[in-house]
């Protein structure tokens, strides 16, 4: 059994706190050759010499073959490259829009980064509009940059949206659970009535159903399912579907 994996494996699914340490000695085999092992440390884990330190509180998760990260329930978003988010356009200045994505700095969005946009043909974006976009630049030292097209120049679902409907904020942990493939919460919710849903990795969720009342029901159910076990959630959803709530 390899040593680095062994010390991680026994903690998978456990709650860890900042300051917890995984220490490992690089294995020294008898013939002097160092067997190289690789692990990938995701959010919440930091390497510090011969040890890996936990820097966020949360549950240790593992993905085959060698990825480990801390799953935490934070509220504040920190932009990361490639993630899709819901932003609110705050200002139009020259050839870029400033977009509030909930991070520490506003992201910039070029007017050319929309499907079919050219210097002549400007996209119709107003201050206050919601945009669904993807980060092309996101690091701690630079201003984050959004685009609303993929690498082929197609919108692919991105762009301005949300003529009506409701935007609200949930924790980042819930968003990740909603976006997971085969998400149980979404599956349970679909059974009640049809609705449109846009989920951004920055904790913003936009919902639109047939009536305002139904929109509010979906909103409230999503907000409450944050702190529920799957069983509690299913009983609540069943009661709503029956119309007793």
């Amino acid at each position: 059994m390899d040593t680095i994996h062994a010390c991680f494996k026994e903690k998978i699914g456990e709650v860890l706190l900042p300051g917890d340490v995984f220490s490992f000695r690089l294995p020294e085999s008898g013939d002097g050759s160092i067997k190289s092992e690789k692990i990938i440390c995701g959010p919440g884990l930091r390497r510090n010499g011969e040890e890996v330190r936990v820097c966020k509180s949360g549950i240790l998760r593992h993905k085959q073959p060698n990825m480990y990260w801390i799953d935490s329930q934070q509220r504040r978003y920190v932009p990361a490259k490639g993630e899709s988010v819901i932003g609110i356009v705050t200002t139009k200045s020259g050839d870029v829009f400033k977009v509030d994505v909930g991070g520490s700095e506003q992201a910039s969005l070029s007017y050319l980064a929309f499907e079919g946009a050219t210097k002549r043909n400007r996209p119709n974006v107003q201050v206050g509009d919601l945009v669904y976009g993807q980060f092309t630049i996101a690091n701690k030292d630079m201003e984050p940059e959004l685009v609303c097209i993929d690498s082929c120049g197609r919108a692919n679902g991105m762009g301005v949206f949300g003529a009506d409907g409701l935007l609200f904020k949930v924790s980042l942990g819930l968003v990740r659970r909603l976006l997971a493939p085969q998400s149980e919460i979404i599956k349970d919710l679909e059974k009640i009535f049809p609705f449109e849903l846009v989920v951004g990795m920055n904790g913003r969720v936009w919902v639109k159903a047939k009536t305002v009342q139904q929109t509010l029901i979906v909103t409230n159910l999503l907000e409450t399912s944050e702190n529920m076990t799957s069983q509690q959630r299913q009983t609540l959803f069943k009661r709503v579907a029956e119309g007793s709530l």
Binding site: G19, R46, K56, Q73, R75, R76, S104, K140
Partner: protein, 233 residues
């Protein structure tokens, strides 16, 4: 609210029996993520002393307070009544310096971390309660930290007895009052705030007792975070 009794039987608190005197903290409790607006929030209750903490960050920062290679930490203590004064400012500085030591601020340059501490009731050991509430709220906000910290207050009575986690009345009657912030990695002292006169030996004893007591508080942190994550598979 998670509440756990830290009182393990009243034992003789003599100067010689250091091991026995240390385990008498008042009953303490905490709750996390109770406010909806801040990024992280917590309450911390030690006996009758109670603090409500909210953390905002990493958020936008004023240009005048911007630091190019790390986040700016701001701590605000709101007293129960009236406006914050000099005493609050002194406490704010203690808490701020402790937070700066624990947080990995270089990961969020040109941003701000604001910790707001509202005093709900003061019955002694206010600074240590502030530190504990701030640590829990920072943890709740998910800010990157190199280690945790906690605060422990010791009072030395006129007879030379060391009282840990004193009440307001005990604080008033004591000869010296010492508050330490202790980190979870190596149990080192991060800051110390003292009033009154005491000998070097007494200082050493108080530090030793605080370090012992900090283990209980760190265990309590772990238990309450576990409870918070218990509903997520």
């Amino acid at each position: 609210m998670t509440r756990m009794s830290a009182t393990r039987g009243l034992c003789m608190r003599t100067m010689m029996e250091l091991d026995q005197s240390c385990s008498v903290l008042r009953e303490y409790g905490s709750e996390q993520s109770l406010l909806s607006k801040p990024d992280g929030s917590s309450t911390f209750v030690q006996g009758d002393t109670s603090i409500l903490a909210g953390v905002y960050g990493p958020a936008e920062v004023k240009v005048s307070k911007e630091i190019y290679d790390r986040a700016t930490v701001e701590v605000l203590i709101q007293p129960k009544m009236g406006l914050p004064g000099v005493r609050e400012r002194a406490r704010e500085q203690c808490v701020r310096e402790t937070c700066e030591a624990a947080l990995l601020l270089t990961l969020h340059p040109r941003s701000s971390v604001t910790v707001v501490l509202q005093v709900i009731h003061d019955d002694g050991s206010l600074l240590s309660c502030c530190l504990n509430a701030a640590c829990m709220a920072l943890m709740d906000a998910g800010l990157p930290m190199s280690h945790l910290f906690c605060g422990v207050t010791c009072a030395i009575s006129k007879e030379g007895q060391i009282i840990i986690d004193p009440t307001a009345r005990q604080e008033k009657e004591c000869r010296a009052l010492l508050t330490f912030a202790i980190d979870s990695a190596e149990c080192n002292v991060l800051i110390s705030s003292t009033t009154g006169s005491f000998s070097v030996q007494e200082l050493q004893q108080c530090i030793a007792i605080s370090q012992k007591a900090s283990e209980q508080i760190f265990q309590f942190y772990r238990d309450s975070v576990k409870r918070r994550y218990s509903k997520i598979q």
